[in-house]
């Protein structure tokens, strides 16, 4: 079994090991941070609401609506 090939196989195995480790390590974030998505980041179809929700006038309208509807007048 232990033949002449073994002297180049060992470094090869080491390289394969490292490559595999790197590959799998890159699969996921590190264990400390388990949030897999970033708030606000979206990968689906474009949503118009995303564009609107940043504008001040839009938010002002919502605030007015809140004051009108949800306070004890």
């Amino acid at each position: 079994m232990r033949n002449a090939h073994s002297d180049y196989r060992r470094p090869l195995a080491l390289v394969a090991l490292l490559a595999g480790a790197l590959f799998l390590g890159g699969c996921y974030e590190d264990a400390g941070d388990v949030t897999l998505y970033e708030p606000g980041e979206y990968k689906g179809e474009p949503d118009p609401l995303l564009d609107d929700s940043g504008t001040e006038s839009f938010n002002e309208a919502l605030r007015e609506r809140f004051a009108a509807g949800q306070t004890d007048r």
């Binding site: 708030p39 980041e41 179809e45 949503d47 609401l49 929700s53 007015e64 809140f66 949800q70 004890d72």
Partner: protein, 196 residues
Amino acid sequence: MARMKFLCDAERCIECNACVTACKNENEVPWGVNRRRVVTLNDGVPGEKSISVACMHCTDAPCAAVCPVDCFYTTDDGIVLHDKDLCIGCGYCFYACPFGAPQYPKQEAFGVRGKMDKCTFCAGGPNDDNSDAEYSKYGANRVAEGKLPACAEMCSTKALLAGDGDMVADIYRERVMRRSGRPQTWGWDKAYGAGV
């Protein structure tokens, strides 16, 4: 920047289920699917408290974190929405959600559930705002019209508050001071993190 939040004032909630039917009305949610529900604790004995609960649009939403196809997204307003075209109905968001928000049109053998459905904060989904396609998949998009969720707007006692987190907190704080009690921001920490 507004950050949309729900808060149910348990001192005011009377379990009238208006939020539940308002949601059904506004979004035409089918029989068997309830995006919102009212839960009564200590039912029928002193200390009874009712709380209306739906998707809380968490800051770090567990549903989004576990979704195998990454169909969730958060608007700048902090509304957690999802894309039904991507959803595969696996049920993981239902496992993960602390509030039991994700709903499925069915729940059958071989894990058949259909596309997940949940409260959208009346903000529809990724389709064009208030398009028929959006309505049929996600229901109304009130936010795009400058309105707030129907459940909170129709709450019989204004127990359920929905809107910019700061304004919600102000109203609630004022009530608590008037009642001279201590705040009981149910679900708030869970959904939005402490001190938010």
